[in-house]
């Protein structure tokens, strides 16, 4: 080839080859740029909407505005829970490298107690990742100023104005109102399950117990939002829009704070519970569990020493005895037994037994409190003088199934449905219950002998004070049963509209009116000539009641002498009552743990509560414990 090539044409061929390469390059350039334009088309036309969203997400940050929590007031308008604004010193852990060094540095500017550090550590353990946590709350103006002057030293630390929950009455009604505290992981799960996660962005407190917990979503309100434009460093550049938060709904309770306070005081140092209900509505007038605690301690995370004090106290102040304490009702069970006897036809009012002071069954002697017995006892006398033998016989005649069926309708052994979480069921004894309760077959069997002590409210019987109060209210209300409740109405914060918690009867028990009257008459007798007469001497109204004493410790056969038994093994004192007897406005159950006889320590509390509620009379002095007839 090369040999035949003409020297003259060689440069031309060379040039042709070169120009072909230039053309080739040109085509390659075109193809490459076409590829680029195709890429731009894909990004800017095909995926434009997607990238626009991404760009908006980049630049717009939603900052939640936490709504004011609803206020809780009692039936007279007394404020039980409210909000106030205060400054807190907060640290965002994710923005701080060395927490200890930062806190040490802060403590040179503002007082930080070891308690505060401990609390901060605890909050740190249960916190969400990016939130700021308080190291100090309720800063004084001077402290705020001092920090402001030094804040450049503390990146990640800031002073925030926050709304705080406050319970102005402190420990009064704390078990009913409950408290709020910082949201933990379990609360977060509940919030997510309730589809409230978006509404709780920015919220760091939540109702933990009582009304605060039950009505959390009413009280919380709707979180507002501020759209803020931010730059790549997360700094806010400007506000774009603002959606105002909606304040939480206010709650008005059926509770009467004065009555509550008076009742709590009446307990003095004693442990116990009292539930007072308005029979015609089920509205709870007082819900006492003593000792109480100050719910304000819990709000910013309770300090360790306070917690230890409350949690380790043998008196268990955090236990809501009214709903979670289950006690044998003792002789307060007798009026309900008597009503059951009438309704089932096992007894007539006039039918009398002869009481020798004991009842023999299956080789075991069930003894009456009164040595030698009460003689001839009819139904009236059995209640007024609290005759055990009458009820041993009655229980035996009725049988456990019949007793359990009647008592179940009265609400015993079931949750009342009160608007507080975590209520206990108590124990309504029956052969079925025993089968469920025990595992071993020999324990599962119901013995007829066990029925006997059920009749006087002992044995397996265990009910919560609120169940007892509800049953009393049902008798007072002639068989019409309401769900006990604490909230009277909810006030919508936007419209001001009031939503009543309608007192709808749960069920109407078809009792014969004359049967109920027999029981009521006997209960009036208790307070005029029987075991409650001492406590109600000189009352300006007619009341009906029944005393009770529940054995804590069984002294088999031996004589029970309170003075000889250690205090926490002493019997529980109980009293149920309602008044005025003809038109009951209030029904209650009182329980004094280890209080001994019901007539002695529980009935005087009921007297004070009635005097105050019906007459507006305040008690002169503390309840005197004096000797009265045994029940």
């Amino acid at each position: 080839m090369r040999a035949r090539q003409s020297p003259l044409t060689a440069p031309d061929r060379e040039l042709d080859r070169f120009r072909f390469r230039v053309a080739f390059a040109g085509v390659a350039v075109l193809v490459a740029f076409a590829l680029l334009v195709a890429r731009f088309f894909h990004l800017q036309i095909v995926q434009h909407a997607y990238y626009t969203t991404r760009a908006e997400d980049n630049r717009i940050s939603l900052v939640p505005i936490v709504p004011n929590r609803g206020v809780i007031v009692d039936s007279k308008g007394v404020v039980l829970a409210r909000n106030y604004s205060a400054f807190t010193l907060e640290i965002t852990p994710s923005k701080v490298d060395d927490l200890d060094a930062t806190i040490d540095g802060l403590s040179r500017v503002i007082e930080v107690l070891p308690k505060d550090r401990k609390r901060f550590r605890r909050l740190l353990e249960e916190s969400k990742t990016f939130e700021s946590l308080p190291i100090r709350s309720r800063l004084t103006e001077e402290e705020v100023a001092r920090f402001a002057a030094n804040r450049y030293l503390f990146p990640g630390v800031e002073v925030k104005a926050r709304l705080f929950r406050q319970y102005p009455l402190g420990p009064i009604a704390s078990h009913a109102i409950g408290y709020i505290s910082r949201i933990n992981k379990r609360d977060m799960e509940i919030i997510e399950e309730s589809d409230q996660a978006a509404n709780y962005k920015g919220t760091d407190h939540i109702g933990k117990t009582g009304i605060e917990q039950k009505y959390e979503f009413q009280l919380h309100g709707e979180t507002g939002y501020e759209q803020v434009e931010i730059d790549a460093g997360g700094r806010a550049i400007r506000n774009l829009s603002r959606t105002a938060p909606v304040q939480g709904n206010n709650l008005t309770l059926t509770l009467d704070t004065k009555l509550q306070e008076m009742a709590e005081k009446a307990f003095g140092e004693r442990r116990g519970a009292l539930v007072a209900i308005e029979p015609s509505t089920g509205g709870i007038l007082a819900l006492v569990s003593t000792p109480t605690f100050d719910p304000n301690l819990f709000i910013d995370g309770i300090r360790t020493d306070d917690w230890d004090l409350l949690n380790n106290s043998p008196d268990k102040p955090l236990l809501n005895r009214a709903l979670n304490g289950a006690y044998p009702p003792g002789s307060t069970f007798k009026p309900f037994m008597a009503l059951a006897a009438l309704e089932t036809g096992k007894r007539t009012p006039g039918q009398a037994i002869s009481d020798p002071g004991f009842f023999n069954f299956g080789g075991h002697q069930f003894r009456d409190d009164k040595k030698g017995g009460h003689g001839s006892v009819d139904m009236y006398k059995s209640i007024v003088h609290s005759c055990d033998t009458y009820y041993y016989m009655l229980a035996n005649d009725m049988g456990i199934d019949s007793i359990a069926r009647f008592m179940r309708h009265l609400g015993f052994g079931q949750r009342t449905g009160v608007d507080i979480e975590g209520e206990s069921e108590g124990v309504l004894p029956s052969p079925e219950w025993k089968k469920r309760r025990f595992k071993r077959p020999e324990q599962q069997k119901w013995f007829a002998g066990e029925t006997i002590s059920i009749g006087i409210g002992q044995g397996y019987n265990a009910y919560t004070p609120i169940q007892l109060a509800q049953a009393t209210a049902v008798v007072a209300n002639n068989g019409i049963m309401f769900r006990p409740h604490l909230v009277k109405y909810i006030t919508d914060s936007r419209t001001g509209e009031k939503t009543m918690i309608e007192p709808e009867p749960l069920r109407i028990l078809p009792w014969k009116r004359q049967h109920v009257e027999v029981i009521k008459k006997a209960m009036i007798g208790v307070n005029t000539q029987g075991t409650g007469a001492r406590a109600f001497a000189g009352a300006a109204y007619v009341s009906a009641g029944k005393t009770g004493t529940a054995q804590v410790f069984s002294l088999k056969g031996a004589d029970y002498k309170a003075s000889r038994v250690k205090k926490d093994l002493r019997d529980h004192a109980l009293f149920i009552a309602f008044a005025p007897a003809d038109q009951p406005k209030i029904a209650l159950a009182v329980l004094v743990e280890n209080g001994g006889f019901g007539a002695q320590s529980a009935a005087p509390i009921a007297r004070m509560v009635f005097d105050y509620y019906l007459l507006g009379k305040l008690p002169k002095g503390a309840a005197a414990e004096d000797d009265v007839e045994d029940d």
Binding site: L35, F40, N58
Partner: protein
């Protein structure tokens, strides 16, 4: 007399300029300046400094255009030798910045010798081929390849992948236009593909990461993927007509990193949309088209391969930069010609245009 003097002066000023090239370049500079302004006006405005850089670039272009290609050849060997020696010095005594040894400190000033070789390498190779034009054999291509490989390896070792690619490409284009046989080109491409896994093991960690994030930017959204994610968001959200000048949120809220230098295309794209992008691509296409025309009509081998290399280098800059910013090429440090802020690159590019003008205008003079 005076009138005549003025006319001669004007002629003297413009006689070695190429009208189309100058117009396209000025158009690109205008777009570039407005974009630099938008990218920097709210913090540290660089528009004035960039205008100054452009003025310097234009002067350099004009000056270079005055030299006929034969005279330019004289610079080839000294420029190449100085460049390579400086690269060796960098390798031995260079200043380490961000893990890369690219700079040589002269006490009062730091210089980056690799920049010299962006023009030094093609100049050297073009001179070499020109010298051996009559007797070009395969071994000449081998020698030329070696001349290319030495600076390429030194720059890649720094490491500065962006500049290494630009220098390597510029040298390769010379070889290509000098008639490197197709068999060799195809063979090289095949070898390159076969050697890819081997090269992978030789890459630096950060270079591997960039390639990996190209495949899936979300694998490292806060690290090396961040640049690509944010720039594609900027481009995509620009849509058909853009968000308007100074109105790009990705730009002004500082989501785009290095927005006035290597990533300025994201700023432009966000504010001007697909329409702006198309205009910009068209301008580059015109620039390259004019360059290829000059290449095709060049009268000597030196002029041809030099013009071809410069023209395709311009394409390489533009394609690699826009490709990486839009997420189809890995992130390497390549500026967008006449758009990105920075004096050095601007002057180098302007000199390149000046050489093109020289080749074009002196050819005509010779023919006349």
């Amino acid at each position: 007399m005076f009138q005549q003097f003025l006319q001669r002066l004007r002629l003297r000023l413009v006689e070695h300029l190429d009208g189309p090239l100058l117009l396209i370049m000025l158009a690109l500079m205008t777009v570039g300046l407005s974009t630099v302004y938008s990218a920097t006006y709210d913090a540290n405005n660089r528009a004035l400094a960039q205008a100054l850089n452009m003025a310097v670039g234009l002067c350099a272009m004009w000056a270079v255009a005055q030299f006929p290609p034969q005279k330019l050849m004289r610079f080839a060997v000294p420029l190449y030798v100085v460049g390579v020696v400086l690269l060796v010095l960098v390798f031995l005594f260079g200043v380490k910045v961000n893990g890369a040894r690219r700079w040589l400190s002269l006490g009062f000033i730091r210089i980056q010798p690799s920049e010299l070789l962006k023009l030094g390498v093609p100049l050297m190779l073009a001179w070499y081929f020109h010298k051996h034009e009559a007797v070009l054999k395969l071994r000449h291509y081998l020698v030329a390849g070696l001349l290319l490989l030495v600076p390429f390896a030194l720059i890649a070792k720094q490491p500065d992948l962006g500049t290494a690619i630009l220098v390597g490409a510029a040298g390769f284009y010379v070889l290509f236009f000098a008639g490197l046989p197709w068999q060799v080109i195809i063979g090289l491409a095949a070898t390159g593909a076969g050697a890819a896994p081997f090269v992978w093991t030789m890459l630096h960690d950060y270079q591997r990461k960039r390639i990996l994030t190209l495949i899936d930017p979300t694998s490292d959204p806060l690290g090396s993927g961040y640049h690509i994610i944010q720039s594609t968001i900027a481009i995509g959200s620009g849509g058909s007509f853009g968000k308007g000048w100074l109105a790009g949120t990705q730009t002004h809220l500082e989501f785009i990193p290095e927005r006035h230098t290597d990533f300025i295309f994201a700023v432009f794209s966000e504010e001007r949309g697909l329409l702006g992008n198309s205009v910009l691509v068209l301008l580059y296409l015109l620039l390259i088209g004019r360059g290829l025309m000059i290449t095709a009509n060049a009268s000597t081998l030196f002029a041809r391969v030099m013009a071809g290399s410069i023209t395709l280098s311009l394409f390489t800059y533009a394609f690699v930069n826009m490709g990486m910013v839009s997420g189809i090429l890995p992130v390497v440090g390549v500026p967008l010609p006449f758009m990105s802020y920075g004096g050095t690159a601007l002057v180098t590019l302007s000199i390149g245009i000046g050489i093109l003008m020289s080749i074009q205008t002196h050819r005509m003079l010779v023919r006349q």
